[in-house]
Amino acid sequence: MSLVVKNLTKRYGLQQAVDAISFEVNTGEIVGFLGPNGAGKSTTMKIATGYLPPSDGQVLVGGYDVAVQPMEAKRITGYLPEHNPLYLDLYVHEYLHFIGGLYGMRGNALKSRVGEMVERCGLTREQNKRIESLSKGYRQRVGLAQALLHDPRVLILDEPTTGLDPNQLTEIRKLIKDVSQDKTVIFSTHIMQEVQALCDRVVVINKGRIVANDRLENVLQHNRSNTIVVEFEGVVAAADLGQLDGVLHVQQQSPGVFRLDAEQGRDIRPEIFRFAADRSLSLVGLRQEENSLETIFRSLTNETTAPQSEN
């Protein structure tokens, strides 16, 4: 177990930023840490990297309690803070040498490692430029190179892909995926697609509490709504559809097109078909509506105030 968060609580004054959250991330796993802005993602990460102390609970990185053995924990952690702070007046390779030096790397080992990271992060052409002259995407790569330089066992990335264009997004995701094989990776985001593209598992927090902690498929499965859009040729009264067994709510979208919310776990399509057959109506459309990732994210983080069961 490479990253263990146990009952972590953080209070800023009276405000409870993180409220007794617990989760674990295994080696070789990429976990997406999701939540709306201000949910406590960054705070959790800052505690895990030893920047902030927890008010209660603990974080173990590679078995070291961050609050008790910060040095050991920091040595095996790679961290990309939110907004990717960089020394803008340094040159790319100079900056990476500096960071490597902080981890006790020296001489040729450091040199070859910097060279390797420059290449892997696609910075070869930019390595002799000042960081301030780089575009956002390249700066992000420098930040990532910095976090990966000492080959950390645990990688903590706070919104690594904000502000990137779609091409850069794909590249950075690929990079994270590539390096993650023998590492523990946790990254925060509020973009659901990112989670789908990268993660094995997802931890969703809202208002400092965990509202979901599961494999992505399961989260999707669990929150699949049962909505059916049906289209008839001819005139149908919404009230008649409402009479059907299992239909909870009917919404008319346009003449002949209805949106039906059905009871959870119940397939009402045969019912609808029979309904149409009985009245000799032509059924021209019948489709189960997929819940988009965004909808699930919204429903998880808006409605649920009580934490869901963790599995």
């Binding site: 920047y51 102390p53 040095m71 920091k74 952690t77 803070p81 907004h83 902080l102 910095q146």
Partner: protein, 242 residues
């Protein structure tokens, strides 16, 4: 610590800061010592570096805070402090690295003034008729004073994200530390403890060193103030933990 020190020092050299600081210091002291008739050695008629050591501290009051103002303020503002604090570095390592880099720059600014000493040495009649021990003591005093100012500057920089605030606070604190206590000692209310109050200030110890008498108590005073300032800086860094 070494990495922070060398990075900081390199960034002084890579930006204009180092050259401007050294240049301005040398031009200012050079003008005062050799050109401006009120303070010029040539008009004074004695082979003596008193002007340099009397006015040097005032030049430092402006220059040293300018060197140190960015040290933590900039990192606070840019967020790189978070980066630094999540690396396997102790808080002391960061503070000392930054302090020593600034201190080193101050020492570099002092080195060329040895030429002034050599000139005055040659101008003496007979040549070499200079109070050499006094000059050595003064140099030690000026270097330590630079160290104290650096530590004050680092502290001011750590309490704010604004470099201008850091500069002004540092310059004011340096001024108060340097002559403030001396002036306070003149207050009638403090007359009974005038000596004790004077001893809190830098001037008292600085003047003692300029006489060429290197007293361990004076040296200890400078190191204590530096230690106190750097401890407070470390405390400020650690205050995120509260």
């Amino acid at each position: 610590m070494i990495q922070v020190l060398s990075k900081e020092f390199n960034s002084f050299l890579n930006s204009l800061i180092a050259y401007v600081v050294i240049g301005v210091f040398l031009v200012a002291t050079g003008l005062l010592l050799w050109v401006f008739p009120d303070t010029s050695v040539l008009d004074y008629g004695y082979s003596d570096l008193g002007t340099l050591f009397a006015l040097g501290p005032y030049v430092f009051i402006f220059l040293v805070p300018a060197i140190t103002m960015r040290s933590f303020a900039e990192e606070n503002k840019a967020g790189t402090l978070e980066l630094l604090l999540t690396k396997p570095l102790t808080d002391w390592g960061i503070v000392l690295g930054k302090f020593l880099a600034s201190f080193l720059l101050v020492l570099f600014a002092l080195i060329p003034t040895v030429i002034y000493y050599y000139s005055v040495y040659q101008l003496g009649n007979p040549a070499g008729n200079v109070d050499t021990p006094g000059v050595i003591g003064s140099y030690i005093g000026l270097a330590l004073l630079g160290g104290v100012f650096c530590s004050v500057g680092i502290l001011s920089s750590s309490i704010t994200g604004n470099q201008i605030v850091a500069f002004i606070v540092a310059a004011f604190l340096c001024f108060v530390l340097f002559t403030g206590f001396d002036s306070l000692a003149g207050l009638p209310a403090l007359a009974a403890n005038a000596l004790a109050v004077r001893q809190l200030g830098i001037v008292y110890h600085y003047d003692a060193l300029s006489k060429g008498l290197i007293d361990s108590r004076d040296i200890l005073y400078f190191f204590s103030v530096i230690y106190l300032m750097l401890s407070l800086t470390k405390l400020t860094l650690g205050s995120r933990q509260w």
